[in-house]
Symmetry: C2
Amino acid sequence: MPRWESDAQGRLERAALELFETQGYERTSVAQIARTAGLTERSFYRYFPDKREVLFAGHEIEAHLVGQVEAADPGLRPLEALLTALRTADEVFRSREFLLRRVRVIAASPALAERDLIKLAHIAEALVPALGRRGVQPDKARFIIDVAMAVSRRATSRWLADPDAAFSELVAQAAAELCEVAAPPAPTVR
Amino acid sequence: MPRWESDAQGRLERAALELFETQGYERTSVAQIARTAGLTERSFYRYFPDKREVLFAGHEIEAHLVGQVEAADPGLRPLEALLTALRTADEVFRSREFLLRRVRVIAASPALAERDLIKLAHIAEALVPALGRRGVQPDKARFIIDVAMAVSRRATSRWLADPDAAFSELVAQAAAELCEVAAPPAPTVR
DNA sequence: TCAATGACAACAGATGCTGTCATCACATAG
DNA sequence: CTATGTGATGACAGCATCTGTTGTCATTGA
């Protein structure tokens, strides 16, 4: 018989999401999360460096994107490599049910929304060396990645709103929008 | 004779920048900043909602961009309106000297780097209604703004590195790079 | 059998941030 | 000249986040 319940981290994550949903992020204390999960406040900080991180653990998406970019056809141009990687990113998403709860909680709290931005920025930084291995200079790589992130945000936003769209399709659609937005205007012939 | 020194907020800002430079952000306490500026900790929080904000007060750039976009030629396409507004953004920059100190301090502290991201995100959100008045739907507007922010980051990065380049030129250069990156590859004829 | 290890609790403390009330120079009215 | 209000600040108390440290007790393995 184990002395402690197993999966302490998972219990903390579930307790936190539940409490954030019902009382809001600001009004739930770390001590309360820990109590709900059957642990002490001090133990919480053994699993997560700070209160916000309880909703942001894991680097699956970053790892997936970096891996896909590094494995992409060397003939692809950088932006295409990024968008190709993005098209399969939904494979590492968890259930939409879970994602929706999480997105709602994050949107409701400035502190969590900030943490979301930081995670995106970290993904962007992690992709710089991946493009570097394809011969792109760091500053230029960061620029291309920022453009890809804009496409990603556009696709993700649509994906969350539209329950049944294929993520891959939405990425392609956003990429088409990018061309349309960025292209110099066709000379208007009168 | 005034009872207190004037420009309490400015004194706090200067003391904070100085202390962050010499000891780092984490290792300087709010009480220390306030003492250095000849005030109490409590007074610090009357001027700034939290410790990080002492380096981020003011909304001049956001106001400038929103104003310029709203005043732009209605015939311009949305991205062009944004980039045109961006070209004159350096008018509200303070001295490069001050900006460089600030950028270095921000880059040295994760907490401040985060705050920087949030400020950019707020600018992006503030621009959505400005494009809305030009007939662009919110989600699409946000997408175009994200693309413009990528261009802005590219130009700003070059501007900080190159002491004498005209900001307006760097924006134009980054915009050209955008076309090149986003354009579908020219069909290779063999 | 027993030492090492790992998972956790217990406690203390620094710091960030907030609420509340007192204080005191200054302005203005009477 | 006095009274009264106003606005900036200090003083103090308190909660929450986060960290350092140490003790406890199963489990593991020699």
